[in-house]
């Protein structure tokens, strides 16, 4: 089906909801397209029957619904073009494609956890930190489970507090960043009482759970599932018995769609102007894809993008100061939780790096001839060529080898061949119907 809107927003997290609400309230026809089953993105990910406890989420969703913008949940964007503005989304539940035409596009595609390979990280029982929290919200019964929370970033504290609330026993929280860097970051926060209070509340909820800084996982032990993790503080290494490891190394922005649209990138993410405009006319970007900075940054950037796309640039300028302050917070956070070099030498030659294709570190190092770059590694090993399309191993390869994914091509998420065969141009459909091929 083809649908036509003035503005299409990709992503229904804080940035996307704020953008859509602002643009729709300004009188434009707005659609929000999101892969997830419900609005809210990852930070406000809905649980099964969970009461929306978060006031910020409740307010954002209520404002979005009142604005009259349309939500297309369960729609995974697989292709897009800037002019004429078109976007294709795969509707998994109905196994069909849906097309959207737009004047302006706002990318609010959020972020994902960064994962790094270490011995044992593919064992069942090892989850992302946010990953485990999402599963528990989705109905995984974690009561009585002994959990080590590890990696880096502010997410670790929040995840540990939530898992504890849900009945897990948190053995320890291992934050790789050294205390002196976190202390510098905390000093930075003094001008932001809300963020300090939030951190203090989490710490109180965690009670006597140890929060170890300058501490990281070196390996996971277990045959069929996790039985223990080995932790180190650089001088001493010890074993903690546990059932689960929740481990993530802060966040990386989801920039695949922006790359596909040939938007210019910076070190941090998608390059945007003061008006959240990308290097491609008519395409805006808001929130984590422009550089990981958290929910408050996402909300204000989304609102600016929505206003500007709706022709209300003057109103948007009032939000610039707040946006810039939040961006500074994001940069300080990135510095505070920067990866220590020891993390890059944890994987052994037989440690899997690409989980889709089971490519091991040794395959990537290439005994006889080292791989030059990611393209070379792909051709020789199939690394990054599985269904996640390098979204998981990509950030690891960048950290380990400095390789960056050179090209993003459609579909940016895998879809069945039949979907591509029945795609847009109506005149071709008859000859490409899958049943015709199979006959």
């Amino acid at each position: 089906m083809n649908r036509t809107y003035d503005i299409v927003v990709v992503g229904a997290g804080p940035a996307g909801l704020a953008a859509a609400t602002a643009a729709s309230n300004a009188g434009h026809r707005v659609a929000v397209v999101d892969d997830n089953p419900h609005a809210g993105g990852q930070i406000w990910r809905a649980g099964a029957g969970r009461s929306a406890a978060d006031r910020a989420k409740e307010q954002a969703i209520a404002a979005f619904e009142a604005s009259g913008a349309d939500l297309f949940a369960g729609h995974q964007v697989v292709d897009a073009a800037p002019s004429p503005g078109t976007l294709q989304a795969w509707v998994g539940a109905e196994q069909r494609l849906e097309s959207f035409a737009f004047e302006s596009l706002i990318l609010a595609t959020g972020a994902r956890e960064r994962f790094l390979p270490f011995p044992g990280w593919t064992l069942p029982g090892v989850f992302g930190a946010g990953g485990l929290q999402a599963l528990v919200r989705g109905g995984y019964d974690i009561r009585g489970k002994r959990v080590v929370v590890a990696g880096t970033g502010p997410l670790l504290l929040a995840v540990a507090a939530h898992l504890k609330q849900d009945g897990a026993e948190i053995v320890t929280i291992a934050e790789q960043a050294p205390m002196r860097r976190l202390a510098g970051f905390a000093t930075n926060l003094i001008s932001r009482p809300a963020k300090v209070l939030q951190g203090m509340r989490l710490r109180t909820e965690l009670g006597s759970v140890p929060y170890r800084t300058g501490c990281w996982v070196v390996a996971v032990e277990g045959g069929e599932t996790v039985t223990a993790v080995r932790l180190t503080d650089g001088s001493r290494t010890w074993t903690e018995r546990c059932d689960l490891l929740a481990c993530g190394f802060h966040l990386v922005p989801n920039t695949e769609l922006a790359s596909l649209l040939e938007c210019r990138m910076t070190e941090a993410g998608v390059e945007v102007s003061a008006e959240q405009q990308t290097s491609v006319k008519g395409i805006y970007c808001a929130g984590e894809p422009t550089g990981v900075a958290g929910v408050d940054a996402a909300t204000v950037q989304g609102k600016i993008a929505g206003l500007v796309a709706a022709g209300k640039s003057a109103a948007a300028t009032q939000l610039y100061a707040r946006r810039d302050a939040e961006a500074a917070f994001g940069r300080a956070m990135t510095l505070a939780f920067a990866l220590r070099p020891e993390l890059l030498s944890l994987a052994a030659p037989d440690t899997i790096v690409c989980r889709c294709e089971d490519v091991r570190l040794g395959d990537l190092q290439g005994k006889m001839m080292p791989r030059k770059d990611w393209t070379d590694a792909k051709l020789q090993t199939r690394c990054g060529m599985g269904p996640c399309q390098g979204r998981i191993c990509g950030p690891a390869l960048e950290a380990l080898f400095g390789w960056r994914n050179a090209s993003v091509r459609p579909p940016v998420f895998p879809v069945p061949i039949s979907a591509l065969c029945s795609a847009p141009s109506d005149d071709e459909v008859s000859i490409l119907e899958p049943q015709e091929i199979s006959r």
Binding site: G47, R50, R112, G128, G138, G139, G386, R391, I392
Partner: protein, 87 residues
């Protein structure tokens, strides 16, 4: 699950042929992990379950109602659904 108490009713799904009753709204990936069943078997034969929980990593893909490659972390359980480890 205390947080699921707000949901009304239960659904029954078949996990690798075993009947499992779950609170309505439970995600398939959570149902598989609760049952101690792997979502998929990897290229080199390892058992895998969900990793990212948000539809990015594809580690939780399984066969849902006969259709392979379905990301179980993005699908809520429905009455009578079947889910099988993807091999």
């Amino acid at each position: 699950m205390s947080e699921l108490n707000g949901s009304r009713g239960t659904v029954t799904v078949l996990v690798n042929g075993q009947r499992v009753t779950l609170l309505r709204g439970t995600m398939l990936a959570a149902a598989l992990v609760n049952a101690g069943v792997p979502c998929r078997i990897s290229e080199s034969g390892e058992q895998r379950t969900a990793l990212c929980g948000m539809g990015i990593c594809f580690e939780c893909r399984a066969v849902v109602d006969g259709v392979p490659q379905q990301r179980t972390c993005q699908i809520a359980c429905k009455e009578g659904m079947t889910v099988e480890t993807q091999r």
